[in-house]
Point group: C2
Chain length 332, copies 2
């Protein structure tokens, strides 16, 4: 028979209400009494019924994480960073895969609200207006990770994607490359990776290089998109290097180049984006822009917990540092 709150009260020589106040961290209990209650709790191994307490405190010590797909290469490390921080602060995480389907995103938001999570860490491409409306209505504390928010009213953690693209393209230019292709998301799309195209375009301009639309290809962020992009580009133009908006694109691009008789990096330089694990073991190992995935998750979770606890958050939109990792897919 596990110890009850009554046993704790008896052991500590206080009322049940006092034990309850200590458990719920209400500050009216004096330190001496608090100490007695905590000692009694430890002695008896008392564990309060968290679900019943949740109803009273309106806190479940649970945080929802909404992501496109945990089985992709990008999200597991973010989630790991988030869960590690959650664990430090005694929160658990509820994981929801949406496949970027807005219906699923909205349904999960509703379910998480019903299950009374204390907040949500949200990852998508961009927030559509109807989702922003729903978030407003549900009044869930929320932090966005690498997710565009047109209104900018929801706290977020990102990297500076445009500056990161600048660093990547500049690196290619400094190696003497002039005909630099782009394979990635279209600039009209509202998401983080679209900013990479913007960075690409501006860097060419700043260096007096003309944008050649024959050697840009817009598609998704998968290896298949990289493969198809290169096949298409090779039909229309001569290239020295490729800036890929994701590492998966870079892998597909390298395979397409190999299949068309080009060597990387001897003939063509390739730079990727993200620094997923596969980029580090691909042949050749891929030079890339590293997003600090673990930190994005852990910093995002820390912000969220501060918001939940009404603590001050230093910055509404937190920009983390990216890093260019030199490997073997660009000429030395």
């Amino acid at each position: 028979m596990p110890a009850s709150i009554k046993d704790v009260a008896k052991e500590a020589g206080v009322s049940i209400a006092t034990v309850s106040r200590v458990l719920n961290d209400v500050d009216v209990v004096n330190e001496e009494t608090k100490k007695k209650v905590v000692e009694a709790i430890n002695k008896l191994g008392y564990r309060p019924n968290i679900v019943a307490r949740s109803l009273k405190t309106q806190r479940t010590k649970t945080i929802g994480i909404i992501i496109p797909d945990i089985s992709s290469q990008f999200y597991p490390e973010i989630v790991r960073g988030a869960e590690d921080v959650a664990n430090i602060y005694d929160y658990n995480i509820m994981l929801c895969n949406t496949d970027l389907d807005p219906e699923k995103e909205m349904e999960y938001l509703r379910v998480l609200k019903e299950k009374m999570v204390d907040g949500v860490l949200y990852m998508s491409t961009s927030l559509e207006p109807n989702i922003v409306d729903l978030i407003d209505k549900l009044q869930l504390p929320m932090v966005l990770v690498e997710t565009t928010n047109r209104e900018g009213n929801i706290p977020s953690v990102t990297i500076d994607n445009e500056k990161a693209a600048f660093d990547a393209v500049n690196y290619l230019i400094k190696r003497g490359n002039k005909n630099i292709a782009y394979v990635g998301t279209h600039e009209d799309e509202v998401n983080a990776s679209a900013l990479r195209y913007k960075g690409y375009k501006h860097t060419l301009e700043e260096n007096g290089l003309k944008l050649n639309e024959n050697i840009t290809y817009f598609g998704g962020l998968k290896a298949q998109d990289g493969y198809e992009g290169i096949v298409e580009i090779l039909k229309h133009g001569k290239i020295d290097a490729v800036f890929c908006a994701s590492d998966e694109i870079a892998m597909g691009a390298i395979n397409a180049l190999r299949d068309n008789g080009f060597r990387v990096p001897e003939d063509i330089d390739i730079i990727g984006f993200d620094n997923i694990y596969s980029a580090s073991i691909f042949y050749p190992k891929i030079t890339t822009i590293a997003q600090p995935m673990y930190d994005m998750g852990s910093v995002g979770m820390r912000m969220l917990i501060k918001i939940i606890n009404k603590q001050e958050v230093e910055s509404k939109n937190y920009i983390l540092d990216h890093e260019l990792i030199e490997r073997d897919s660009c000429k030395k």
Copy 2:
């Protein structure tokens, strides 16, 4: 103002108790009344307070998933399979990373019990006696995925690791290889991968090949272990092929062979185990034993939900099929 249970009762023309009985799926309500209540619920968009209901029904529609590390290459797909099935049956998942630390495993079990999860999907290497005791004490419905359970009293989903190792080693033997090295877990360890060494040993025996301990190496399952294993083995013996107990070992082994002037597969055949994503994009692409990771998660979750709902489960220990995937790391 969201609709309350009172509004639903009024709309349906029934008592609050009747609405409650319908919501809690108690069978004493007649079909006609039930229909009226459901119509009223839909019309008003009523959503019951799930947390309050949980206390009454002792069900939270939440399932805990305990895994070593979501950021490893192996677990994300299992978790995705599990969450997809959970979602179909209106369950949410709570994700817990343990790093195989028994203290963390036990603490998560206690927390999940307190948060009243309906069951737990458990992944570790093996279940230590004190963890089995705790599981008994907490009386949490549980299914193990790819986790050894000495007593065999907890339902599980695995592949036949010994048979899979047999298939791998036999494949190497059929290609004319005689000096087949092993890099992986020691046979004395109580976990799934130790069974792979058993399979290796027996297959050699069955084919009249002598086990040569100079070309076996015991360590962990990471790329670094594969690299070190090959460096060690090359000091002591001549090898034609390597059976690696994981794909990460295979990657490390290939890199070590390359650094020592050997080509894969021209000089030495390599076979891996697991079929993680990286194995399919490594150079050369790695021939491997595929574990059906998505299915392990989804089948495990389906079993668990059946157990939670006191439905019959066909098999206490469910063995899923493995598959040998031929790629480029063995001679054709």
